[in-house]
């Protein structure tokens, strides 16, 4: 504490009361004081004067912006005390100063500004000691500076005759700016000393609590700053901002905020932190920013240019300054968003603490106040984090706002949106439900919910509910009505794909078509309505009608990638392969990196121009992949021993180059040793909890270049390269798959474990359910490319190359059913039926809905003539899954069971065929026909072949459902 030795305990007590502004105790203490020492009468007068003045000010607080109104009777007494204290001249110098300060303050309260000023000038405030001064004196000095500033603002510069300094003549403008600077300096000094005072007072208070024997004194009230200190702390920056001098204002804000917090300044800090954040977000940009520890730029666009010349540098020093936050490794923001965020987090934690929780009516106002101050902070947080795309963090912040959110639509809605943006879809839907309850008339909210339901969540029933809400709004929904029909159409369309019963499927397809037609008629300028109508027609194989609508969609939106893709597929369904290829080429010129288009291109090229072209496209895809994703991990390039690097590096065509077979020692050792870990991940024992190896790279399924977060010290570690560090690569996938809630999950694979589910989805997305939100995870795309290449090689009857390609995919996704299926095909190509059967069985154990595998397995089972063994299993499976499984699954059972039933009972086969929806996979029917024919059942075989032919006539090169359906 201070070095002042005041002697008696009484004096200490008086000093404490003055520091703690406990004015009500002073009279009693003064009585005790005068009882002890007669010579202390003067001091007593001083104290009484002070205490009466302060009590008066407490009872009649001066309002900000209002001037005190002249002398008042109560103050006469104060003046009497103070004059008496000074009259006899017995006071110590310190006390004389104090008395003068009080008189000056009194003058201000009475409106005698010039008098007050002359007192201050006589005192020369700058000479007053800050070091070693008792705590209360710091407060007096701070108030004195503030009062002086206030007086200077009131008293005109040149002569008292001029009522307003702003009307001063040009000649006096120089002195006006000088005066302005004086005023600001006064306030800044006042603020600094006030902060120091508050810090010291708090220190003294807690020391007091400690030293005072067991009985703690009456608990200190929350100290209130009062008019003068408040003015001193804030008036300087208010003036800066009023003058358009943002640089100085920001600087002052920062000075106040850097001072160590005290309990009394908490509210001030909260407000100032928020205001500074506002300024950083609303009035600054990256280039005009300077960090809190740097000097501000001399010329800044932030300052009012008309007043540029008036910039003054800080020109005062104090013998003692408030303590600021110090220490090693202090975080100092380097960018405006960083600083805004830091300030908002500080502000938020304080606003949060003040959340009024009680809901009794008396506290309504308090609640509103606390809600308002918090929601301003949360809005600013949203602006700052949204700018930087940090929705994950934002959703966490907004969750903390939930204690304010009862019946507050805005907060709920913002939380829902942030969850949605952060990819936390399931919770977003739940919060959206609450939003709908609070604002049932807004069609956007249920539409957002549908978007999530049919997108990442695949919650069709919920989606239907939400979409119906929009439709039920009728005319009220206005422009969103068409969107509502579009949404419900998509729900039905997806439900049709999932449906198991023929009648249900047809019903949904009919409903979907109706909804899309309605949407299209309501909003004829929306290309999406026309496009989805076309897609739905295509799925139900009404090819010419579909072509009409897809053309319409393209007229509305000429460069829509999905419309172009659909057009190409429709042309391929009409067997105009060259036209289809042309369309794909055209689409690729606008979307060169769209892998979906490229897959179709590979297929079409294999059909039209032979496998060499197709392989070239595969190579091109690998190149795109590399340039696209390698960029995110620059250190990965240049050390290629993988097939990928070789394939790209080799100037020859992919089919002409010698692919590394597995006698290549490096690849072999690489694969055998480092794969071992991932190989243990067998289909039967999927790793349930892959240890998350600090996911260095977190890929979201949004554009790959975004949202790559990493920690500062190590430079972005490369994601594992395909060959060497396979294990980590896998576990990274796993982490990715596990944590990515954007992942779409098939309804059928729910029984499988989460990882397995995700993996099978990975694989099945190779097939039909194409990426729903932009490009998939890069590794997945890579695996897809390899598999496409393998398929081309199989078409060329080159098992070795196909194996190599499949192995590359297997390295990335060892348990993908598509990889296993491909291996089965290679085994078939090599004539190894038993091995093929094993691979197919494994593929089915991972994804029991994979139609191609079922078809192949069906044929192999037939070839191996093992009817009796499979019969029981399949019968059971049909019993269990009859009404549940997906279409393709039934196709399989029908075809395979057909073989078995054929031996036993032909009627049963026909019944089965009737009760499941007709498969649009013509190959299945074809296989079934072959089997039946081989069994000598010509009639049934003919039926099957006819169906197959009919379907084949309208079959696109890849399923129409490869085109994503999303709102």
């Amino acid at each position: 504490m201070t070095a002042r030795k005041s002697g008696s305990r009484l004096e200490t007590e008086i000093e404490r009361c003055r520091s703690e502004t406990q004015w009500d105790k002073i009279p009693e203490l003064v009585r005790q004081l005068s009882a002890k020492l007669i010579s202390n009468d003067d001091l007593g007068e001083l104290l009484l004067g002070e205490c009466k003045l302060q009590t008066y000010l407490k009872e009649n607080p001066i309002k900000q912006g209002a001037s005190p109104r002249g002398p008042r009777p109560k103050l006469v007494e104060v003046r009497k005390h103070l004059t008496a204290a000074l009259d006899r001249g017995n006071l110590k110098a310190d006390y004389i100063q104090e008395a003068s300060l009080l008189i000056a303050k009194l003058c201000y309260v009475e409106g005698e500004y010039s008098d007050a000023l002359s007192h201050y000038n006589r005192l020369s405030l700058d000479d007053m000691q800050l070091v070693g001064a008792p705590v209360y004196r710091l407060s007096m000095i701070a108030e004195a500076y503030a009062t002086k500033g206030l007086c200077l603002e009131k008293v005109p510069v040149a002569s008292p005759a001029l009522s307003n300094k702003n009307t001063g003549s040009p000649a006096s403008s120089r002195s006006t700016t000088d005066r302005e600077q004086d005023i600001i300096t006064c306030y800044e000094k006042s603020g600094d000393i006030a902060l120091l005072y508050l810090q010291e007072a708090e220190k003294a208070l807690s020391a007091g609590i400690q030293n005072r024997s067991p009985k703690p004194g009456p608990t200190a009230q929350d100290q209130e700053l009062g008019f003068f200190l408040e003015t001193g702390l804030q008036r300087a920056h208010v003036i800066h901002f009023k003058n358009g001098n943002l640089t100085k204002g920001v600087g002052r804000f920062r000075e106040i905020l850097r001072a160590v917090e005290t309990r009394t300044t908490q509210n001030l800090r909260m407000t100032i932190a928020r205001q500074l954040a506002e300024i950083l977000l609303r009035g600054m940009c990256e280039q005009s920013y300077w960090s809190p520890l740097e000097d501000p730029p001399t010329v800044s666009p932030l300052d009012d240019p008309t007043r540029q010349g008036h910039i003054h540098t800080k020109n005062y020093s104090l013998s003692r300054r408030p303590r600021v936050y110090t220490g090693e490794n202090l975080f100092c923001p380097q960018e405006n968003t960083e600083e805004a965020l830091l300030l908002l987090l500080i502000s938020e934690s304080m606003a949060n603490r003040d959340a009024v929780l009680s809901r009794i009516p008396e506290h309504n106002n308090d609640r509103i106040i606390s809600l308002q101050s918090a929601s301003v902070v949360y809005d600013l947080l949203t602006i700052a984090l949204g700018r930087r795309g940090q929705y994950e963090m934002l959703s966490e912040c907004l969750e903390r706002a939930m204690k304010f959110a009862f019946e507050e639509f805005h907060l709920w809605y913002q939380l829902a949106l942030s969850l949605m943006a952060a990819g936390k879809s399931a919770r977003a839907v739940k919060v959206l439900k609450e939003c709908i309850r609070l604002k049932p008339d807004d069609p956007t909210i249920p539409l957002l919910a549908v978007k999530l339901c049919i997108g990442p969540l695949h919650w069709m029933d919920e989606g239907e509910c939400f979409a119906k809400m929009v439709i039920d709004m009728g005319e009220k929904a206005a422009e969103f009505r068409a969107k509502g029909y579009l949404a419900i159409g998509l729900v039905y369309s997806l439900k049709a794909t999932d449906a198991s019963l023929r009648s249900t499927q047809e019903e949904y397809q009919r409903k979907a078509l109706g909804a899309f037609q309605r949407a299209q008629s309501l909003s004829s300028t929306d290309h999406l309505a026309a496009f989805y109508l076309a897609l739905q027609l295509a799925v139900s194989r009404q090819i010419p009608e579909a072509l009409g609508y897809v053309r319409q969609a393209l007229q509305l939106q000429g460069d829509d990638v999905h419309s172009l893709h659909l057009l190409a597929l429709l042309l391929s369904a009409q067997k105009h392969y060259h036209d289809a290829l042309n369309i794909i080429e055209m689409a690729l010129s606008e979307y060169p990196e769209n892998f979906n288009l490229l897959y179709t291109k590979v297929k079409l090229e294999a059909m039209c121009s032979g496998p060499e072209e197709a392989l070239l496209t595969c190579k091109h895809m690998l190149q795109i992949w590399k340039s696209f994703y390698n960029l995110t991990n620059p250190s990965d390039s240049g050390r290629g021993s993988s097939l990928l690097d070789r394939a790209i590096a080799d100037r020859r065509q992919l089919n002409a180059m010698t692919l590394p077979d597995f006698s290549d020692p490096e690849t072999v050792s690489g694969s055998s040793s480092s794969y071992s870990g991932s190989e243990t991940v067998s289909p039967t024992s999927p790793p349930t909890s892959p240890s998350p190896p600090s996911p260095v790279f977190i890929f979201h399924s949004s554009p790959p270049s975004k949202n790559v977060s990493f920690r500062p010290p190590p430079p972005p570690a490369p994601p594992p390269r395909p060959t060497k560090t396979r294990n980590r690569s896998l576990s990274n996938h796993m982490t990715f798959l596990q944590f990515s809630s954007n992942w779409s999950l098939h309804a059928t694979s729910i029984a499988a474990s989460r990882v397995e589910q995700a993996l099978s989805e990975v694989a099945s997305s190779l097939q039909s359910s194409a990426p729903k939100h932009g490009p998939l995870h890069p590794w997945l795309t890579l695996a897809q490319i390899w598999l496409h290449a393998a398929e081309v090689y199989i078409g060329m009857s080159k098992p070795a190359e196909a194996t190599a390609c499949t192995q590359e995919a297997a390295n990335l996704f060892p348990t993908s059913h598509n990889v296993l299926y491909m291996r089965g095909q290679i085994a078939e190509l090599r004539g190894n039926m038993d091995e093929a059967k094993r691979w197919y069985e494994e593929a089915l154990s991972i994804n029991p809905t994979h139609v191609k595998t079922m078809q192949r397995l069906g044929l192999i089972l037939h070839q191996l003539q093992r009817y009796s063994l499979s019969e029981k299993v399949l019968r059971d499976a049909v019993q269990v899954n009859r009404w549940v499984v997906k279409t393709q699954f039934k196709d399989f059972f029908v075809s395979t069971l057909g073989i078995i039933f054929h031996v036993v009972q032909r009627e049963q086969l026909l019944t089965l065929c009737m009760c499941v929806p007709p498969s649009t996979a013509h190959e299945v029917w074809n296989s079934l026909g072959e089997v039946l024919q081989a069994q000598g059942n010509a009639a049934a075989a003919t039926e099957c072949f006819l169906t197959a032919l009919e379907l084949e006539a309208s079959s696109p090169i890849l399923p129409f459902t490869i085109i994503p359906r999303a709102l």
Partner: protein
């Protein structure tokens, strides 16, 4: 186009070419004085077929390539107008493509995506964390940080990439168009403070048009340019909104609020959560603020008033802070049989959203039993606590700038004061003392236990207990963090256990 304008532009085109290298910065500064130049250039860009367009674009690119910030900003001020020119041409499927504008924009993009050494630029920023000291705060003063999964993973400062790396682009395609344009807007937003009001207005106009063309609202705005719908992305809209926000707050209230409305309208139709989120936030944060319209001085509408520093919330209202006092009273008064009830409170208190996971949620019964069983320890505990404070203080005096110790001890003092405050609010005066001691003892014993258990083995339950026994969250957090990321001051902490306990209030 007037001949005079043409003259101005032509003069501008010729003079830069003859400029010696050392005069560039002076020239850049002098551009401001050419009053008629900028409007003339706007005219050139708007009239797509002007012969001057190509040389102007070329010159603007030269400006940008010069690397002189002022020249770069000169070019950037036309960015909104150039974007609109590009987009409207591509939407109208005009065969007369604006090749030179495309080239200019791609040129700027390709320059900006690499750093000086030609490496791909990665724009990143540090996410501040309250658990790390900064120039504005000290972690110990914020006790009420919820120990969420996110808080754990964000412990410490993490650097996050928000843009980049980007690929070099040679042409605009439908696929990369908005990726490039979004990045260009990001560059524009980085120099917003230097932009003229014409440029800001042009940005707002661009935003409105991009968002409403082809939609029914187009009639409302009476804009008759093109009426084809333009595809947009959510990120692009967010960048537009950032610029609009600046315009709104810096004098362009009318066009700004119109533009914001239009962007929100489009974001609703497209169901873009990101754009809706930011747009709604801006709308709501400006709701109360009276925006000053473009007045003569061009004053910015950033205004600050003197605000009362005392809390505007009445003392007897139950707040997140004061409920702590209430809770302790309840613990003592009610017997210990109602953990559910207590859990409710703590959840409300910390804002812990009841996560579906549930694994972290364990009933906080431990807290209660502790506070009771160790009641008679109270006096000792307090003594010991003081000891702790003293020692840390002594140390402080000796070592001088050992600031962590000092500030920590201060926060303890603070917390004790606050404890006193909270308990006095909820308990009649006479009971204040006992309540205080009880509280303190409980706090102490609890945190002591945590520390000891933490020291022996980093038990996993440490975390879960911490999230529930929320009042310790901060100190516990520090303990548990200590194991996650050992910090040098770990040894410092152990001598004065009591230092940690206070930090939470």
């Amino acid at each position: 186009m007037l001949a005079m304008d043409q003259g101005v532009v032509e003069e501008w085109l010729s003079e830069f070419k003859t400029l010696p290298d050392n005069a560039v910065s002076n020239y850049a500064a002098s551009l401001k004085d050419k009053g008629s130049l900028v409007p003339a250039l706007y005219k050139v860009i708007r009239e797509n077929y002007s012969d001057l367009l190509e040389p102007v674009c070329h010159q603007l690119f030269e400006f940008y390539r010069s690397g002189e910030p002022q020249l770069q900003r000169f070019t950037l001020q036309f960015l909104p107008e150039l974007l609109w020119s590009l987009l409207s041409v591509s939407a109208a499927r005009d065969p007369h493509t604006s090749g030179c504008i495309e080239a200019l924009l791609l040129g700027i993009y390709n320059l900006e995506i690499v750093d000086k050494d030609g490496q791909s630029k990665i724009l990143s920023f540090t996410v501040p964390s309250l658990s790390k000291p900064s120039v504005y705060h000290e972690p110990s003063t914020f006790g009420s940080m919820a120990l969420t999964e996110g808080a754990l993973s964000n412990h410490g400062l993490s650097r996050v990439v928000y843009s980049g790396p980007h690929l070099q682009r040679e042409t605009f395609t439908a696929q990369n168009r908005f990726e490039v344009l979004t990045f260009l807007l990001l560059c524009y937003n980085a120099v917003l403070s230097y932009m003229t009001s014409t440029s800001l207005q042009s940005l707002c106009q661009l935003s409105s048009r991009v968002c409403i063309c082809g939609y029914p609202r187009q009639q409302m705005r009476r804009y008759k340019g093109i009426n084809a719908r333009l595809t947009v992305t959510s990120e692009f809209l967010v960048q537009l909104i950032t610029g609009i926000h600046y315009a709104l707050c810096n004098g362009e209230v009318e066009v700004g609020s119109k533009a914001l409305d239009d962007v929100l309208y489009r974001a609703q139709l497209e169901l873009f959560p990101e754009a809706l989120l930011v747009g709604n936030a801006i709308k709501s944060s400006l709701h109360g603020a009276a925006l000053k319209s473009n007045n003569k001085e061009g004053a910015r509408s950033i205004q600050v008033e003197i605000t009362p520093t005392s809390s505007r919330i009445s003392r007897n209202a139950v707040t997140s802070l004061s409920i702590r006092g209430h809770r302790w009273k309840r613990h003592d008064a009610v017997d210990l049989g109602s953990p559910d009830e207590l859990m409710d409170i703590s959840e409300v208190d910390e804002g812990v959203w009841p996560t579906g996971v549930g694994s972290d949620v364990t009933p906080p019964t431990i807290t209660i039993s502790n506070s009771v069983t160790t009641l008679n320890l109270g006096a000792k505990a307090i003594k010991k606590y003081r000891l702790g404070v003293r020692t840390s203080k002594d140390k402080d005096k000796e070592v001088g700038p050992l600031t962590t110790g000092r500030s920590a001890s201060e926060s303890v003092e603070l917390s004790i004061k606050r404890l006193a405050l909270t308990s006095s609010q909820s308990v009649p005066k006479a009971g204040a003392l006992t309540s205080l001691t009880r509280t303190a003892s409980a706090v102490f014993s609890r945190s002591f236990e945590q520390v000891t258990s933490g020291n022996s083995v980093p038990v996993p339950s440490n975390h879960t207990a911490a999230s529930e026994a929320s009042r310790y969250s901060c100190s516990l957090q520090e303990e548990s963090m200590g194991y996650l990321s050992p910090t040098p001051n770990h040894t410092q902490r152990s001598p004065s256990i009591s230092v940690h306990l206070g930090s939470d209030l």
